[in-house]
Symmetry: C2
Subunit: 421 residues, 2 copies
């Protein structure tokens, strides 16, 4: 995407030595960039800097020559390490002043938590002269400061703790964005596509998207999905959704059953929704994935409405003793085989009394098993009528990727059958 | 950590619009920072910038006034979007020149992959005049350029694809670091601590660390552990390990059983190692965690030597029908209770014929269950002699955090008993 001359430009500054030591990855910059982009702002820089008054001050002055908005995250805590207040005051050529309202608020917050407030917490009641305070949601207030110049640059400082940064951004920065940009919301609709390659998806989708209304199409290949991304700008969120929905429908129809879900609807959420809508229940029998399929479903709120449970049968003995598979079946076909996976699905469906059952076996690695190479995998789905379908293929990747992709293959099979596409 | 005047200073520049749109998090900067820090270099900035010749050129000139080394990742591909070559040539006031060796190498690489080389790939054979080429490991060559000035700044450009960036860094940047720093390796030893608060850990550890030999102590609080970090510099990796080991031992002894592992040894790895060392096997009975405990263990290579499997008993019916708990027990005590958790541990141990068993029940949220608030949790450990111990408390956090922390509490109980501390 290229810049358009009249968009508000912004920079994100993250303060903290742990970023520069490589101890922590800067996910705040990712989150802030997405939110700023959604509001039509063009983010032109991320900058990470340590807890250093001079470097932070110089960085902000350099960025201020280029952008209308700088969001600074971090360095607002109570200790001597936390120098964002001093650095931004120096960058603006101002003094720090004491804000009695902030002090009262801090005292009240500590009292409410029944915690003693250390004297050094009072440092947090000082902000640059002329700045507007942004009330704390944890224990660190932020502030909003204007640096005169061409352009005038708004500098907003918020704490680096992710949930505090997010809440204070929504409360104090979003209203400022509406003021600076004159409103307008840019959203990216995301279609999650399974079971197709990127070039295949692009060939189908590109002819459907006419960019003349400003809609931007892009593709993102992830480990077990392709994302089709449609970026649309309109007056507000509702208008973006109204304008993008027909296109989302058109692309979904063209891709047939390959679209797993839209926006926040991931595979697990969709599978559980479909099970609930059809009044069906599920149990799992997992060998190579060791419980990961059930755990992925269990992380979705309300999973217990459809997920009865499952058996992790990691050894041959467990397959026999816990799910009753005959030793002869295992010795004849091997534990990683179509026949064993089919038998596991049937057995766990019966044991849990569920409508459906998923079963998986495979060689997750790092070494081959019984002459089968790493990535050999089978997944089976048992239906309410007792029919079982089994699929198998060689899954690429390391141990973690084989486990994740095998689970997704099984869940996507269930999704396709429940959706009837 | 503060800067020491004589360390080589570096900046990491990441090129790519997807970072500024918030579509991608900059993990390259994290990786490069850790490697640079290990070699004694002080990283003072990360900067992300879009595919923009002027902005990238201006950024590099600004950083060059401050640092002796700039590592630029990304923007070296074959398309018109990829402008790192042009931007760095402009920043150095040089022309791009054609390197016939690079062209030959590109032609050879495409032929070896049996792929047609598009004419635009030839753009990748041009580098700034005076730069030294860094051979491709994928299809993108990099280069090393010196910008005269005070200080002289070495600019190294490598592709943004993580594995290419890493391989080209090791091949071309590490030798340069040895030259710039005169050798010396800085490593951070990490002790993973469970079951204690940060201030409690600091009070015990701080008196043990005498910083006069240059050892730097820091603490990092993560969701379910505290990290004690000891940063040590010496001539090489072996010397760092030799010098830090007595201190690691002293801190471990002082913290008693709270140290889960050192460096890359996480809780799952340690539990499996201890089980194997003692020749013991494990089965799990999981309600609230829905298989997550077994899946965490299953991600460790070689888990099948100790993990037999487990039962995910998500509903009351599954607890009765699959593990044979009496309906009266469940109705009298409730599914989330000390008595039920104890019974689950005993039943799953018997069902799998394992030495140990872990069982968990809890309210993961988002809503209360049977009048029990979100976070109510019990975990039980069955021993080889049939004895069971049960623990319970209210775990803070959202659904995902409760699931993760409850699993960790159970695994840590097993670790402590196996370690006999």
């Amino acid at each position: 995407m290229s810049s358009t001359g009249d968009r508000v430009r912004a920079a994100v500054v993250s303060v903290g030595s742990e970023l520069l030591l490589g101890d922590l990855t800067d996910t705040n910059a990712t989150w802030l960039s997405r939110r700023l982009t959604e509001h039509g702002v063009e983010v032109v820089h991320h900058l990470a800097v340590g807890d250093d008054v001079d470097r932070l001050g110089a960085s902000v002055r350099w960025l201020a020559a280029e952008v209308e908005l700088i969001v600074v995250g971090g360095g607002l805590g109570p200790t001597a390490d936390d120098v964002t207040r001093e650095a931004l005051a120096a960058a603006a050529g101002r003094e720090l002043v004491h804000d009695p309202h902030l002090e009262e608020d801090l005292v009240r917050r500590f009292a409410a938590m029944d915690r003693r407030m250390a004297p050094q917490n009072l440092r947090q009641a000082w902000i640059p002269a002329g700045a507007r305070a942004i009330p704390a949601v944890g224990t660190a207030p932020g502030f909003h400061l204007e640096l005169p110049g061409d352009p005038t640059t708004h500098v907003v400082a918020v704490p680096g703790v992710p949930w505090e940064l997010r809440e204070q951004f929504e409360a104090a920065v979003v209203p400022l964005l509406t003021e600076l940009t004159g409103g307008g919301v840019t959203l990216t609709r995301v279609l999650h596509v399974a079971g197709r390659g990127e070039s295949d998806v692009a060939e189908i989708v590109e002819p459907l998207v006419d960019g003349s209304d400003g809609t931007v199409l892009s593709f993102l290949a992830r480990s077990h999905e392709i994302q089709v991304r449609l970026t649309v700008t309109a007056a507000d969120r509702a208008a973006v959704l109204a304008r993008s929905e027909p296109l989302v429908q058109r692309v979904t129809a063209a891709l047939g059953g390959s679209v797993v879900g839209v926006d926040d609807e991931d595979l697990e959420t969709v599978v559980l929704r479909l099970l609930r809508e059809r009044g069906r229940t599920l149990a799992t029998a997992e060998s190579a994935t060791a419980g990961d399929i059930a755990a992925r479903l269990g992380r979705v709120p309300g999973a217990s409405a459809a997920l009865l449970g499952g058996a992790v049968v990691y050894t041959a003995r467990a397959k026999q003793e816990v799910l009753g598979l005959p030793a002869s079946l295992l010795s004849e076909h091997g534990t990683v085989s179509e026949a064993t996976t089919r038998a596991l699905a049937l057995a766990v469906r019966q044991r849990f009394g569920s409508d459906h059952a998923l079963a998986v076996t495979g060689v997750a690695g790092p070494t081959a098993v019984d002459g089968l190479p790493v990535g050999t995998a089978f997944w089976a789905l048992a239906h309410p009528d007792g029919e079982v379908e089994v699929h198998g293929r060689r899954i690429p990747g390391d141990r973690g990727q084989v486990i994740a992709r095998l689970g997704s293959a099984a869940l996507d099979l269930l999704r396709l059958r429940l959706a009837g596409v």
